[in-house]
Structures are given as structure tokens and as C-alpha cells.
């Protein structure tokens, strides 16, 4: 069969007009999973703050989310648990903004990397510099940081031993590093805790090549124990809060997202076990424009997050879940006994 030109038989999604401007459903055809998820798939989640939304959606959809560091008390609010790093990801590692941070964590779990300068102080309290947000008021003693970290690493090891699919949200390309050891941190020293010392701390800007290399190291380590493990990468649509590069934050944001997106695309094209989910493209879709973000022009709105979640679950043929209603639990399991006592005393 002879065709006029190579675009003649392409689907409507290949064209801006039909695929974007006039598409009936904004996310139609955006995500065709090559890595499939079903109810039995054991999923590990990690990544930058946007990953929390994906994680929460998977939990509400009753998927088989790996959780090895958790609190199972439905009477406590999600907000409280999240504030202490519970119920956000598979373990209590907090936000992992860079691929280097993830690589470092997995190497630490395997005993092949020993992070340095990880006890940061603020107002007389001690913080785990590699996850300073999970214990909002820190610990009393430095030893508490290391011992709690040892518990945490056991939980991460357990999660890695179970994983079928790792969903990782790439957030940043820059991170602060402890120069002598190469330890990278999720936050800058001196912000939440710690002290910034330019002689031992520096800003690292990771190239697309370095990010890809770090990912391949992560993939190798996970697949050495779980050969069939697969990976879904996403890019956070949330702009940078700040950049340490000296660039304008808008330029730094676009440069970072471009690098992350390029890396994800190339990895996805190269490996059958690596897939890409376009949360970045959905949130920054031209038809949504500024309406996709809250007034701070940074946080995606609840509505657009719901759209991302629907696209992800829908593509896998999975139902949307709902937030569990709060459990009151002041009722007595033995109300029968109570009623008996009441009747005996009151009915005279």
C-alpha cells in the first residue's frame, strides 16, 4: 500500500490539534503502560514530594503497596502519621528528591556505603540529615539518630526484598553534598537543621548522564535480589522551591525538569523493564494552564492531582479508591456487658 507521507496513517494522538487542543479527554492516550500493575503486584514507592500523591492513590485503591515501616491505627489521622513520615512511602525515608539519594540509600542498606555527617543539630535536638522531616522535633541524643536509622535501614531492606515494581518520582537534579564522603542530603545544611560549612558542603548539579548511571546502579542492585523487578519513572511537575545554582529559579526549574524528563525517556526507550508515567505532562498540560496550580503557582491543585491518579489507575484497569472514613472506636467491644450493668443498676 502506498501512502502520501509518513504521518498519513498516524493516530489522532500524534497530532497537536486532535491529541491536545481538541482532544475530548485531556489524558486520553497519554499513558499506555508497558509495565503492568494488578492487585497482586507488590509496589514500592519513593521520590520527591509529588510521589506522595501517587502513593496515597495506590493505597486508597487497595493495591499491594509495600509498607515495612508503618503505624496500623486507623483511629489516628493521616495528617499526624504523614507528619512523622508514616503512610507516605514504603518505608519512612521521607522525600527522596534525587536519583543519587536513592542510590545512596540502597547502597547503605547493602552495607556498601556509609554516609557521613548525618547527625544535624538544631535548638539542642538531633536530626537524621538524610530524612530530617520524619521526626519533626528531632531526637534527644546523637545515638538515637543512628539507632533509629538502623531500624529504618532494616525496614528498607525488607521492602527491597519484596519489590515487584518500584515507582520513583524524579524531583531534582541539584543536591547538597558532604564533599569528603560524597554523601548527598535531601535538604541544604542549615535549613531544617545542621550548619552550612562551605569547606565541607557543596552544591552538586547532576547531569542527565549521572542520573541515568545512578538509576542503572539502583536497577542492578534491586534486580540482583529481585530479577523480575520493574520500574516506573515519573517526573514531578512541582517547580523548585529554590535553587542554589545562582540561576533564576524559573530557568533552574525548566532545566531540571528537562534533564529528568530526558533521562526518563531514554531509560524507558532502552529498557523493557522501565516505563514512564506522564504526571509531569498531565499537570503542565497547556489546556489546564495556570489553573493546574494553587495560588502559589507551585502546588498542583487537588483536582489536577485527581486527574493524574485517574489516568494512572484507569490505564491499569484499576478502580479509584476512597479515603477511609475516620474510625471513632470509643464503643466498647462488649456493649452487651455494659447494657446489662446499666439495666441492673438503673431499672429498679
Amino acid at each position: 500500500m502506498v501512502v502520501d507521507h509518513p504521518y498519513a496513517n498516524l493516530p489522532p494522538t500524534a497530532f497537536w490539534k486532535s491529541g491536545v487542543r481538541e482532544a475530548r479527554e485531556l489524558t486520553a492516550g497519554l499513558y499506555r503502560p508497558k509495565v503492568k500493575i494488578d492487585a497482586s503486584t507488590r509496589i514500592m514507592t519513593a521520590g520527591s514530594c509529588f510521589a506522595q500523591h501517587i502513593s496515597r492513590a495506590l493505597r486508597r485503591a487497595n493495591l499491594n503497596l509495600i509498607e515495612t515501616e508503618y503505624i496500623r491505627l486507623p483511629q489516628l489521622s493521616e495528617a499526624l502519621l504523614n507528619r512523622f513520615g508514616y503512610g507516605l512511602y514504603s518505608a519512612r525515608y521521607g522525600n527522596i528528591y534525587t536519583m543519587r539519594q536513592l542510590k545512596q540509600l540502597i547502597e547503605e542498606v547493602g552495607g556498601d556505603f556509609y554516609p557521613k555527617d548525618i547527625i544535624w543539630r538544631a535548638s539542642g535536638r538531633c536530626y537524621d540529615a538524610l530524612r530530617p522531616n520524619v521526626e519533626p522535633s528531632g531526637y534527644t541524643l546523637p545515638a538515637h539518630v543512628t539507632e533509629m536509622r538502623a531500624h529504618h535501614l532494616r525496614a528498607v531492606r525488607k521492602a527491597l526484598a519484596e519489590v515487584d515494581i518500584l515507582i520513583f518520582t524524579l524531583g531534582l537534579t541539584e543536591a547538597w553534598e558532604h564533599i569528603p564522603s560524597g554523601t548527598v542530603y535531601p535538604t541544604a545544611p542549615g535549613t531544617i537543621a545542621g550548619t552550612y560549612d562551605p569547606t565541607i558542603h557543596r552544591l552538586r548539579q547532576f547531569s542527565a548522564g549521572e542520573i541515568a548511571e545512578d538509576f542503572l546502579s539502583v536497577r542492578n542492585r534491586i534486580q540482583s535480589r529481585r530479577p523480575d523487578a520493574r520500574f516506573i519513572l515519573t517526573v514531578s511537575p512541582v517547580p523548585l522551591t529554590a535553587t542554589g545554582t545562582g540561576e533564576h529559579v524559573l530557568l533552574a526549574t525548566h532545566a531540571a525538569k528537562a534533564k529528568l524528563r530526558t533521562t526518563a525517556a531514554e531509560l524507558c526507550e532502552t529498557f523493557d523493564d522501565v516505563d514512564y508515567f506522564p504526571s509531569y505532562e498531565i499537570v503542565t498540560h497547556p489546556r489546564l494552564g495556570p489553573a493546574a496550580f494553587e495560588a502559589n503557582m507551585r502546588s498542583p491543585t487537588a483536582e489536577v492531582i485527581a486527574r493524574v491518579v485517574r489516568c494512572f489507575l484507569g490505564a491499569h484497569g484499576l478502580p479509584l479508591g476512597q479515603a477511609a472514613p475516620p474510625v471513632l472506636d470509643d464503643s466498647d467491644p462488649a456493649d452487651g456487658i455494659c447494657e446489662e450493668a446499666l439495666l441492673e443498676a438503673f431499672v429498679r
Binding site: L76, L80, H144, H151, D332, A334, C338, A341, F346, V347
Partner: protein, 263 residues
Amino acid sequence: MKVRLFIVGTSHAVAVRLAHERVMRRFPDLDVTYFAATAGLGFNLSVSADGVLSCPGASERDLARLKRINGASSVDLTPATHIWNIGSPFRFGVLQRLFRYYRVFGMGPTENHTVVSWAFTDEATDELVRMAVENLLEVYGPDQRLTVTPAPYPAAMSLKHGPCRDLPGVALGKLAYVDEIERSYESKIAASVESVPWRFLPQPAETRARAFLTKDEYLANMPATPLEAKDLRHMGADYGAILFEQYLTQIVGLKPVKKTAQA
């Protein structure tokens, strides 16, 4: 002015009801009305704009239960000079589970439990107490006539015997830092209740065996019921009398008449 006291609450109000005659002999200038519901039903209670405590939306069956217990399915609180709520559990069951399944780091052996920080358990306790107070507030509103007394803790023997032995409270009772947990829990209840502002009357000190446990002698069904059938949570008239007297002297400001040989 005659004190018109309305005692409302759960099945734990029974202890006070059982002590009624005994207490009235020492505080004769007192008019008491009782109205109680099981804890589960208590969630649906509310006080209307004209001051009537009832259970709107309750099923016919539940209304019948209220009538059977109280002789009516509602009570008008308007004439009350004082209202005393007895027996709210203040999420004690959840607190027990928190400390049963999770061990606080740096406060003793953690065995094979998931380890949590004291800061986390402290905020969790705070949240549980706050939710319990909010539930009471939904029922009564910020009525300054109200005093709150939580349910008594289970009898000490529940650590070893009876239907309570499988409850998480057993694990709680064995923790080395149980006193600190109790102090934190009760101070949060007091602060939260008093911030409404209502008044708070805790379980009397002399009735306590140790943290989170009541002396066995105050059980409602001692010693007649066989051990395996005992209800180890509800206290009897002796407990009720002590609590009632403390309420009348400390909260209402009454003085008992001189004790007689029979009293």
C-alpha cells in the same frame, strides 16, 4: 439553693448509681437525675437548643433500649445546676493498642516491635484525647455546668485473669514507662477538658492499683461471680461512693453531714 445534679454517661455511671442511697445520707440536700447509654449509643446523643438530651436519628430498637434503662429516651437538662458526665473512654482502647504494638525508642527494651519516638506517641495521645473531647463537645456544647470523669481503668486482676486478659492493656501494664504514659494521657485529658471550659475530675487516687489499673476490691461483681465470667471493667458501689463524694466536695463544694453509725 438545692443542688440539682444530672448524671449522664455510659455504663460506668452505674458505680455512682449503686452508691446513690449511701451518698444521699451524707448529702441530703441534693436532687439527682440519672441518664445513661452504652458507649456505642452515646455517640449519637445530642443536646437540643432547648436543653434536651436525646438520641436523634436512633433506631426504634435503640430508643427502646434507652427507655428500658432510663424510663425515657430523653432528659431535659434545663433544670440542672450541675451536669456530670461519667465514663467516656477517651480513646483508651486505641492508646492501649498504640503501646501494645509499638515500642518507644530509648525507653526500654524494644524486642521485635516497631519502634516509634516518644514525640510521636505524645502527639498521637494528644490527637486521641482531642478527638474524644470534640465528640463530647458535639453532644453538650461548651456548657459550663459540665464536669467530666473518664471511665475507670480495668481491675488489676485483668493482667492475669478473666475476659480482659487478651486485651492490649495487659501489654501496656507491663511497660517500664507505663507511669509516664499515664501522666501524659491524663494531663492531656485535664488540659483539653478544662480548655472548653468544663471541669475535670479524674479517677480517685485511692482506687488505683497502679498506672491504668483499678484495685480489684472496687469491682462491681466481687467476689460472687466466678473469675472466668467476671466483668473486669465496671466498678461497684464502693468505687462509686468515693468518686461521688469527691465530686460533691471538690466540684460542687458541698460538705457532708456528720457520719452516723449506719453511714
